[in-house]
């Protein structure tokens, strides 16, 4: 109880700072933070289906793209902005429902592959569709009449609002029957079923929620950059970055993906700036280190038990390493 109250106070304090920041910082940092919020929402979306249900939706970027295209097409058709964003979230949820219905009946890893295939299928469909989607040429959006400085600050707050909303949804989920159903089926689907859980329905609902989050920020992103094409809208790299953030912060926790998003961005910015020529390598090393040393993410480290477990793992790893080095010297 006190732990969750502490994190709530922390979150509110961080929120207050983030609300003031756009009036203090320049456009570079504004852009960095806006994209942290954006990928943070994608990470929360993954958290729902991967963290809670244990279904690895590597291809969740499909919904980012669907949301982006829905906003682009509806804005071009003259829809009001809020309606376009709602349509993006809803359409993504519907896509997840329709494809989840057959795919989430399959247990385990088929789903991970099928979700990636879904992303690729959308690329093909839009490339061949042409017309309102622009096909291979890409699709420009109506340019906002607002001054850029104001517009970028509005988009900053839209993305921040989306992150707050997504985190609130995950918090509600963690307390709800659906949340319990997902955490149960993550470990044993048969076990959950014989205790009365409709696992297929729970999984589809989870993926639809996940998709709605991802699709909505995809839509805001399209409005932000004003020109979209399949390679950037359906970029699986967004899923991958969100994945690292989620793992880094703590899979299946409420604030983990948010903490992970900021931490990842700090590390990535440092690496990008200092070692531009080997940043992928360093990022890879970083990811492996995270998975080995803090498999439950950094959030549990805030508690004493979590810290002890992590130092024990670190100690174990260094002992093993020294044993190995020592053995080699003896030979």
């Amino acid at each position: 109880m006190t732990g969750s109250r502490k994190s709530l106070v922390l979150a509110l304090a961080a929120l207050a700072v983030l609300a003031i920041l756009p009036f203090v910082i320049g456009n570079y940092w504004l852009r960095v933070l806006t994209s942290v919020f954006m990928v943070g929402v994608v990470a929360q979306g993954l958290n729902v289906i991967v963290g809670f249900a244990g279904y690895h939706a590597f291809g969740n970027s499909a919904f980012f793209g669907v949301g982006a295209y829905v906003v682009a097409v509806t804005l071009n058709a003259g829809w009001p902005l809020p309606l376009a964003f709602v349509a993006a979230g809803l359409a993504s949820a519907v896509v997840a429902g329709v494809f989840g219905w057959p795919l989430l009946r399959l247990r385990g890893h088929y789903f991970a592959i099928a979700s990636v295939a879904l992303n690729m299928a959308f690329i093909e469909v839009i490339l061949n569709l042409g017309g309102v989607t622009g096909g291979a040429q890409g699709l420009p959006l109506p340019i906002s009449p607002m001054a850029p400085d104001l517009l970028y600050r509005i988009i900053y707050f839209l993305m921040l609002g989306a992150l707050v909303a997504a985190t609130a949804v995950v918090w509600v989920l963690s307390q709800s029957r659906l949340g319990y159903a997902l955490r149960a089926l993550k470990d044993s689907e048969s076990g959950a079923e014989v205790m009365g859980v409709d696992t297929v329905r729970a999984k589809i609902t989870a993926w639809a929620i996940s998709a709605a989050m991802t699709g909505t920020v995809g839509g805001i992103w399209a409005y932000w950059i004003t020109f979209i094409e399949v390679s950037s809208a359906f970029d699986i790299g967004i899923s991958m970055r969100a994945y690292i953030m989620m793992l880094l912060g703590g899979i299946g926790t409420v604030f983990g993906p948010v903490a992970g998003a900021f931490l990842f961005q700090i590390v990535a910015t440092m690496i990008w700036a200092e070692f531009t020529h080997i940043h992928n390598l360093l990022l890879g090393v970083f990811l492996v280190a995270v998975v080995m040393l803090v498999p439950n993410g950094v959030l549990p480290l805030l508690s004493r038990a979590g810290w002890r477990a992590a130092s024990a793992r670190l100690g174990g790893a260094s002992t093993r390493l020294s044993h190995r080095l020592f053995a080699r010297e003896e030979r």
Partner: protein, 258 residues
């Protein structure tokens, strides 16, 4: 508590067959479970006991034959539907939800088998099931911290939390020592006294003989015996197929000099 006093079975399995590719795991098996009865389901490894329980709980997939619960056909229904109707089970290989506490593990059944239940009632029900199996003091730890005996009892509590009328137990005593087995035996008796009807799959013959009103024997997927414990363990077919001569002699000796 036998067929004569309660003519309508609460569970009626009729002509059930299950095939896995070329393997016939269960062949034309029929048996009844009457209200308040404890039926032992025994037989060598691979005889089809677990598969038969899977058919009843809806996990087996395609199969022939029918299963009726309280007069209503349930074969072909989804496992969660069957669970909500009142059939609970444990798994031979325990399947705890590792990222939920012991109490939360048990709450799942209480939560999903009566969807309109208040969360306070859910918690009370889960607590009650935990107390019953003697895990009340382990409520807030993770199941990975439990001993095997405690995990088996957690499996039982999870089944009880669904408020079942029929309970299917798949080798809840396997791997346990004498004292732990006696504890489970007492627990099963208590559960029956609460009004449940129980199918017990078990290799521990002493326990089977102690608690069962009737024993059904499977071999290579076929039912080879069905009757009162004493008659079944003295059946030469059962002795040669499963129990072995040594058990038969020991059992006969016990009967002569109790």
């Amino acid at each position: 508590m036998n067929a004569q006093s309660n003519p309508a079975p609460i569970l009626a399995v009729r002509d059930v067959s299950v095939r896995f590719g070329g393997v016939v795991a269960v062949r034309d098996v029929s048996f009844d479970l009457f209200p308040g009865e404890i039926v032992g389901l025994i037989g060598p490894n691979g005889a089809g006991k677990t598969t038969l329980l899977n058919v009843v709980s809806g996990l087996a997939g395609r199969h022939d034959g029918t299963v009726a619960f309280d007069g209503e056909t349930i074969s072909g229904r989804k496992p969660h539907v069957i669970a909500r109707k009142g059939i609970a089970r444990t798994f031979q290989i325990v399947q705890p939800f590792k990222n939920l506490t012991v109490l939360q593990n048990v709450s799942i059944g209480a939560m999903f088998c009566a969807p309109n239940r208040l969360s306070s009632e859910t918690r009370a029900l889960a607590r009650e099931a935990l107390e019953k199996v003697g895990l009340g003091r382990k409520a807030d730890i993770l199941p990975t911290q439990l001993t095997l005996s405690e995990r088996k009892r957690l499996e039982l509590a999870r089944a009880l939390s669904t408020c079942p009328r029929v309970l299917l137990l798949d080798e809840v005593m396997a791997g346990l020592n004498h004292t732990e087995i006696e504890r489970i035996v007492a627990l099963i008796r208590e559960i029956r006294a609460d009004g449940l009807s129980i199918v017990v799959v078990e290799h521990v013959m002493k326990a089977i003989m102690a608690i069962c009103d009737r024993i059904v024997v499977l071999r290579f997927g076929e039912k080879i015996a069905d009757g009162p414990p004493d008659a079944v363990v003295n059946d030469p077919h059962v002795v040669s197929a499963y129990l072995g001569e040594r058990f038969a002699k020991r059992h006969a000796a016990q009967e002569v000099s109790p």
